[in-house]
Subunit: 313 residues, 4 copies
């Protein structure tokens, strides 16, 4: 009976204890035996750590949302630098913003009340808004200069090869996702590449370009197929989530570890909000996988997760 089984599993809720001696590890340990999103966060931290300790696990990381503009660029950089990511799937927007920062431009923020902003005035000032973060429109001119001068060896290269080349040609930078991925030879996939400012400027300046999206799609399936064990961490949802999962679905072994951090909800049926349990029905996540979906803003959870992992032994 389900209930007998359940009773054995249950133990008392931990009353979280915070002292001046609390560390990120004792915090997560304290959150673990509670419930709601505190427990989900603790589970996500521990699952990720177990992925790192599993020598056979290929770690897929899906990144959607305006994570670079809001100041998470270095967090992702460090995930790559520390070896926490084997394959990155992201959006063209995050890559466009990564180039902007790598070229020395900056996103802006301040003590502004979002509810009192004048978007028409911002437009006149050529100040693009991403919730409470801003990007001066002239930054795109700098990206355009860089992109227009790129020397492309082939018009039909796959996107992940193009992104490697792009990372190689970027100036040295301590935060850049493209740069560290290129240095560490970590492939970046970007299935909706043409849905980005970067692709627009490429398209304007390299009129014969036809980067091969299908090679990327098949390449990711090969990588998933070759993985003895696989783990997934999804930030946000969107195309990166589906692109990783459609690759795993066809493999002999589906994901054994799965984490998602999102604010989306399941009831309206979109994939971004779909539970990781639903992914089990598709064979994307394994029946016996450890999984945790944290319903939270990634800007709060990703720094905590990285902090936890950096103190791992």
């Amino acid at each position: 009976m389900v209930e007998d089984n359940l009773k054995e599993k249950l133990k008392k809720v931990n009353q979280i204890n915070i002292t001046q001696q609390t560390s990120i590890r004792s915090l997560i340990s304290s959150l673990k035996n509670t419930g709601f999103n505190a427990k989900r966060l603790a589970n996500a931290c521990e699952i990720y750590e177990r992925m790192l300790h599993d020598p056979e696990c290929i770690k897929f990381f899906g990144l959607a949302g305006a994570m670079v503009p809001v100041g998470m660029q270095r967090i992702i950089h460090d995930f790559l630098d520390e070896g926490y990511i084997d394959i990155l799937v992201t959006t063209g927007a995050n890559l466009t913003h990564d180039i902007a920062e790598a070229l020395g431009y900056h996103h802006l923020q301040g003590n502004v009340d979002v509810e009192q902003l004048d978007d028409a005035g911002l437009h006149k000032d050529q100040m693009n808004r991403i919730y409470d973060v801003f990007l001066p429109n002239k930054v795109y001119e700098g990206i355009e200069d860089f992109v227009s001068q790129l020397d492309l060896p082939s018009n039909e290269m796959p996107i992940h090869e193009f992104l490697k080349l792009l990372g190689d040609q970027l100036p040295s930078n301590q935060n850049s996702i493209l740069k560290i991925a290129a240095e560490k030879n970590i492939p970046i996939f970007c299935p909706a590449f043409t849905d980005s400012g970067l692709a627009l400027q490429l398209g304007f300046h390299h009129r014969k370009l036809n980067l091969n999206h299908f090679t990327d799609m098949l390449k990711l399936i090969d990588l998933a197929w070759d993985a003895k064990t696989s783990g997934v961490c999804i930030v946000g949802g969107g195309v990166p989530k589906n692109f990783i999962f459609q690759s795993l679905q066809f493999c002999p072994t589906s994901a054994k570890y799965a984490i998602q951090i999102t604010m989306d909800r399941p009831e309206p049926g979109g994939l971004s909000g779909a539970t990781l349990s639903e992914a089990v029905s598709w064979g994307k996540v394994h029946e016996y996988a450890e999984h945790s979906m944290v319903i939270a803003d990634a800007t709060i959870v990703l720094p905590l997760l990285l902090w936890y992992l950096k103190t791992s032994k």
Copy 2:
């Protein structure tokens, strides 16, 4: 002063009146002078109707979410058939599911309690779950048969041309989005095409395929550039929202009408939940545009919107 201006604009809240004689038009009219999402829904209906009555307006429609599986395929079909959409931007998933239905397969539903489902059992039964809708895995075999036999005139054709060809080759069907769009010559764009079951099977069976995504990107910009007036209706968000807006951003005239139906929220900074006011700062939506963002499940709002428009004169 803002407040004086405000006071002039304010009038009393309408107490909604429902009788046996209520019609969809009187309902929407009654909701209009209220607030919260009732008013947003009424505004969305009226804005769409004004788009239809504006002879110069090019109507962009962005469709994300599992709309075909859940039974909204015919709704979108009718939007296309009635001339309510000039340019459709959607996801590969919706097109994959459209082909499934067009080939005579069906998505399944029933009186199931989502909270009591056994996803591991579903997987054993090869029954893929999309919240409370199901797709037997064998349907993909039918799609594969169709896709493998496609005769493709060129490996580098743009995606929208390929989708036209696909629609032409589908059997006659009263609900299919691809079919009616092909018949009516309404272009369908699908920027994240390789993120779909359709693209996977294409890629497996047509190994040299390299559909040109950049041509699509530039084509949509041309279409946006040529529009004297433009209007936008976004269902969900995701790549279709951004792809339409990045095209409008570069045009002399940004969107004069804008509608979005979504359950996403703005605070975590993702584009899907970004307000239409934020889009004004980017020049995607015009400062003086009529716009309405309905925070609701599209499965409730789209049928009401279509019903309203079908009774328009």
Copy 3:
């Protein structure tokens, strides 16, 4: 096996069909065999209708949220007038706003962009904001006049008796919840009564008042206990949801019909977002109850629900 059982239950998804001849009944019927919130809405309509046709069913209605300010006062009035509610549990705020409207004051709305409002300016103008609806502060003076002149037969009367007396003393009004409930002898419970502008003004002007909250609590349990069958419709959540459910929990028969319309979500563990399935574990909702939780703004769903019920035979 769960899955075999499931397979028998599943049938094909209905492609919703909208024509100029669509009626509210054909719409709901069309939504029923789909999924996501469209199906939940259809189920809610049908469950409520079956409640009405069940002669033994006592219909509890929980109302939270700013429903009167936004224009849903008459909707609730009609639910009461039509006999769709046997017991109403609501918030002090809705009753305060109901009195305001019944005394001839009005809430205000208009074509305002919530994102551009100046709340400090509104405060200077004594214009209180409820999202995009407004209440001039001076309305409270009118309520105060009315309240200060009330002749109270007892300082310790239960709240539901006080509210009946209040309804009796209000001027005739075609929309008032308090008035129609008094006329029809439908009890109104308001467990968080002192959390309202109405109670504040009562307290200021009737210093010895000590309306008996415990009598109300025990009375509702008696009413629940006496019900042969019970059904519940919850709008929003909050105290009304819990107050109804804590009464049903102690009864020999828990709710056989249960509906909730809310935008809250379950993962953070609050009662407002808790699923109706969770209520089964407490014995608040019956194991075999028909239940549907619609994730939607009540300002869209309540008018549709009333419309559906008014066309019922």
Copy 4:
């Protein structure tokens, strides 16, 4: 011009830097110059700290949601013990669960998949579910024993006096909210008291009880009126939020500091999701107040906030 003003305020987004040496203070400092909810969290921490350093500030704390069951009881205990709260407003449910824990009973949790739970089975086992936390029904018997033996000096005492008496009579306990509040003479208000298991059992065993809710209401207004400066921290929303704000609304000085942690959203118009800016229009929050609304699960944010404050000098 708004924009000139804005430009001066803007500075570059901080790329969050996490190292093994990161502390809670350096983390929050790093999050501050970003955006989205990371910045809101940092602002909330700093605003609360400034409240603590303002000797004239009376600190109101509103607590809704199932915080005691999930393991936040000790967190709230510590807020009270450390002097971070001057006046607590909460729900009857949190107090009921506080008594259960103080009497030696426990809430339960474990590695359960919420999506696979059998609520009917749980009901048979008399195991009440609060999302993924459980309370055996027999705990209520223990509460009943305690409550039935209470010696009440007056049937008409105000609730906050009754709760002080209750705290005094509870056994010594290192986590109990009622106990520490009684020891430290911090008043607890509970406006929706009869909406709780505690009140039900009181009502059953003390049939003449008529705790005076109006005295509480007026008392809180007096306390708010006497505050030279006031600050507010709201967890969740609900009745505690409104009860605090309705008291501040009538005072010469509205809240100078305001924090809310919630997952609710503003568009459906309910008070729980209403922005703190909206509260400015009512005079509940001061025009020049420092305020921050963190859109997050309190089970993640409250431990971080307490950790931050405990390391404050």
